[in-house]
Symmetry: C2
Subunit: 427 residues, 2 copies
């Protein structure tokens, strides 16, 4: 782990490089993605299955796309009971937290006007779950449970099936989360099928879930045809530490992020040179003892930086500039800093809050904005599964009261009929 | 206005055509848009000004891009005092409504866990305001005021300047709304400048505001580089009417939508054949008396349909299927239907609530989802200018309590270091 201090040459450039990290340029893959989108929009199931064969080497008939209740039952037999229990506990805690995010329709009266907003769940949501070696049943819980808490009627899930079939943990997690139907298709073709609908897969209103650059680009190009969630990139952790932090714990947390994949990004920001050196040393020692040592070591050597700054004040500024996905505050009185932290996907406060606890079991969502997008994207929440409609109702007296300025504003914009529609009520 | 009844041949097809309306295919303009985005990302101000010259025929130096305080002062002299007062009244009412949408940071404790979410305003927001003949100072208010209510520090606005300069109403509206800086650039180049930042125009976190297909496509392609708002299409109004409605008022409301542009879409859904015929007749008569007769007549002849259905129940179903931007409930007891309406950008209840009152002065936002996207997009709100960060803090005892299932879940996903990061706290 590289340690660089504010007095070093190159500090500014190193920080700037981190701030500018991770802008995915989707331009190169857009034409290929659009071709698949068009083909599925026109060809439906047949096109989906053609691409499944081409890219995933899976031959399916339309009838076999949907995972059967028997397969889900079998999945439970394939996993340990204790693992199922752990998933259920996580699900329960996730549901409890997300219940608090629910907002209700409200209205109020002001003189003769009734104004408000209706908060309504989406009808159908599509959940994309990547295949490949890394399977994240926890992400299935995190994406599906808030939808169910929001009141979404129908949650569809698509995930590619390799030769070995769909990982049983994914099926169990989906079942626990209340996913209504699962299709064994992946990639751009799955995203397209959910966006446009096919004979087998119903059109959804919004597509949520991570994926590779092709899936991410497909979602982006479909924005407006359906709603989409944020664009997710590699995992990130920034630890803000003062002298009170335990270097060994900080190192363990950094490695927990680094083991995700070699693109994972971890940073330490501290006013203490000693802390930076100790953490770097601990990382070096601990990285050798992991089952995913090669991956974590690559991520650390490529992306890990410890920034030594002038003060905790400056450390907070740097954390805000970086706007990391995960921000761990490893200081004496972490809640004291809460008000000054402006940009982070999630905040972990205190030495007994390893990021892993929030990844799996704390309850708040672990689908979080990466690559600096915490400046404008939010943690996934119940809000992502509802929509707001405005409510307006005027009495005759109230309309009379605002008629003149209304007519004036309509005329400013050259909208005669707008003015007349209000005036007509009094003719 | 075409009237079609449920018993008619072609009813189903006509309804389906409306439900499927308005999907903008941005594929054709994507390459051209991407070229401009890339040029501005690399070339900054110089590229912006080159495109301003090419597309808007305006020659500017970087210094002259920003509108000066003097120009804004002059704009006030160019408009009538009463018009300024009307804009101020609208601004006040918009602010009052949006204040109610503010949500606060919250936290709670459950056993040894402190969980919550921080609700934080965006730092910098960019507002795109189209130029051309149609100028909408009301939209400047609607887009900028919620940002200011949310606590956004800096609101930037870009709008193209023709030979005659920027419309003074836009400048006054921006000033009243609290816009912090205004640049006289438009089109894709303006959107790109705000997304990437140039020497003159600061990088923003989110871009909001309507625009033509090029601007809309630019925003879509920039999703992830910045946040964006919904994709806006032509205006729409659906009127749900029973026999108690006043056909002349309904016609006036439909025409108010139709005068926007020839792509505007207006629908009547009613169980009463008589009502449908009377409204169609009233539209025919009133359309001739407008200042924008040609535009409204074109919109009506192209897109207006009155659907006569079996019952009010069925009428509500049809309204939900269409998911219109504006939904006017012109019935005896409009609030009785509120609970069953699931998809609409905004609802106007009762005979003294012409859509125009909500367009200008009611208070709720008039930036609303169109083209059926009310199924998943929301009315613009304070929510669009904040973001949510999760807060997690565990005590030692609480971490101990969840450690085993946490470790189990980490191992399911093959994440050794995740497990260790929790276990290390107890070594």
């Amino acid at each position: 782990m590289k340690v660089i201090a504010y007095s070093d040459r190159g500090f500014k450039a190193a920080l700037e490089k981190v701030v500018q990290r991770g802008r995915q340029d989707t331009g190169a893959v857009e034409p290929a993605v659009r071709t698949i989108l068009k083909a599925v929009e026109r060809g439906g199931d047949r096109a989906v299955l053609r691409y499944a064969k081409k890219f995933d080497r899976v031959s399916l008939t339309p009838d076999a796309m949907r995972v059967t209740p028997e397969e889900i039952k079998e999945a439970y037999y394939k996993i340990r009971k204790e693992d199922g229990d752990a998933l259920r506990l996580a699900a329960q805690r996730i549901a409890t937290f997300h219940e608090r995010q629910r907002t209700k329709t409200w209205m109020y009266q002001e003189q003769g006007a009734t104004l408000g907003q209706a908060v309504l769940p989406l009808d159908v949501v599509g959940l994309y779950v990547p295949g490949g070696k890394a399977v994240y049943p926890s992400t299935v819980l995190m994406a599906a449970i808030p939808a169910k808490v929001a009141g979404v009627r129908r949650v569809t899930m698509c995930t590619p099936s390799g030769q070995a079939g769909i990982n049983p943990y994914l099926l169990v997690a989906a079942d626990i989360a209340g996913v209504d139907e699962i299709y064994r298709v992946g990639g751009v073709q799955a995203v397209a099928a959910m966006a446009y609908g096919t004979k087998t897969i119903a059109k959804v209103d919004k597509i949520v879930g991570p994926g590779n650059i092709y899936v991410a680009t497909a979602k982006k190009l479909l924005y407006g045809v359906v709603g989409i969630d944020m664009m997710a990139g590699p995992s990130e952790l920034l630890v803000l530490a003062d002298e009170s932090a335990n270097p060994s714990h900080v190192a363990a947390d950094l490695l927990c992020e680094a083991e995700h994949d070699e693109h994972a990004k971890v940073y330490l920001v501290t006013p203490s040179r000693k802390m930076a050196d100790n953490v770097a040393r601990a990382v070096q020692a601990q990285v050798k003892q992991l089952s995913r040592t090669a991956i974590a070591a690559k991520a650390i050597s490529r992306h890990a930086v410890a920034f030594v700054v002038e003060s905790m004040e400056r450390a907070i500024d740097v954390a805000n500039e970086i706007a990391a996905e995960h921000l761990s505050v490893a200081t004496e009185r972490p809640f004291d800093y809460l008000e000054r932290i402006r940009h982070a996907g999630a905040l972990f406060l205190g030495r007994y809050t390893p990021p892993a606890v929030a990844d799996y079991i704390a309850g708040p969502n672990h689908v979080l904005p990466t690559g600096g997008t915490a400046r404008f994207f939010s943690a996934l929440s119940v809000n992502d599964y509802v929509k707001i409609s405005n409510i307006v109702s005027f009495t005759k007296e109230e309309l009379q009261r605002v008629k003149d300025p209304l007519v004036r504003l309509a005329h400013i914009e050259g909208f005669d009929a707008h003015a007349k529609s209000a005036e007509s009520r009094f003719l």
